[in-house]
């Protein structure tokens, strides 16, 4: 074994061990964090750091073969879909009104009431009460 192979081996072992450590950290966080919104962070660590490091280590172990191509495919796919899936889960939770503890802000901005243009008056009324009174007076005037 020449020096280059030894260097590649050492690098790949280091990457695999670091990836395993990140995967364990992510799993511990997924299990132990108190809140759904904090668990998202732990899962993101697993999806990005641990997966990339482990796949890179395996690529260095495989050398230039067909296995490397498959590993690159797996890595690219997981790199794209992992954060996408995490974002989809977070977005679905937020849209369904699942708020972090202690936060009472409504998750979604309230839908704006559709204003109907009155045919008689073209100018925009500034407040709701004013439109109401204006329509009342107009009704009274016609009736």
């Amino acid at each position: 074994m020449n020096g280059f192979d030894l260097l590649i081996d050492l690098l790949s072992w280091a990457l695999i061990l670091a990836g395993s450590a990140f995967l364990l950290i992510g799993a511990i966080g997924t299990l132990r964090f108190p809140d759904f919104w904090s668990r998202l962070h732990a899962v993101s660590v697993t999806d990005s750091a641990g997966m990339i490091l482990l796949v890179l280590g395996m690529i260095l172990q495989a050398g230039l073969t067909l296995v490397t191509v498959k590993l690159v495919l797996i890595g690219v796919f997981l790199f794209v879909t992992g954060p996408t899936a995490t974002h989809a889960v977070a977005n679905a939770a937020l849209v369904s009104g699942f708020l972090p503890e202690g936060l009472s802000r409504p998750a979604l901005p309230k839908r704006k009431a559709v204003r109907k243009k009155s045919p008689a008056k073209k100018t925009k009324a500034t407040t709701k009460t004013r439109t109401r009174t204006a329509s009342k007076t107009r009704k009274g005037g016609t009736g």
């Binding site: 799993a27 998202l40 999806d47 997981l78 879909t81 889960v89």
Partner: protein, 107 residues
């Protein structure tokens, strides 16, 4: 060293599985399920290297594809109550997310 990675992946899978069964809300479960899929993909790959015959990587790639599509499908189902067409044309059907809380999905 592949043995160490395999053991770490196995312990992580068990932890995530505990969260999957214990997760108080639906979204905890979906998140844990997705994470478990990622762990499984890596586990299949590492197991092939541990045996010295990395021939299972096709299966790992397929598992990654199915895992992503399944997660999105589950989320879409619980949001819209259907997996197919979700265009907002039906007037009688309400897909308001407030009903999730009434059904106790949010834990």
């Amino acid at each position: 060293m592949f043995l160490a990675a395999t053991i770490a992946l196995f312990i992580g899978m068990i932890m995530v599985l505990v969260r999957l069964f214990a997760g108080p809300s639906l979204y905890d479960r979906v998140l844990a399920s997705n994470s478990f899929g990622t762990y499984t993909v890596l586990f299949i790959g590492v197991l092939g290297f541990l045996n010295g015959r990395p021939d299972f990587l096709d299966i790992a790639l397929l598992y990654a594809l199915i895992n992503f599509a399944g997660t999105i499908a589950v989320l879409k189902y619980f949001r819209y109550r259907t997996v197919g067409d979700t265009s907002p044309q039906k007037k009688g059907v309400k897909n308001t997310p407030g009903k999730l809380r009434d059904r106790g999905v949010l834990g």
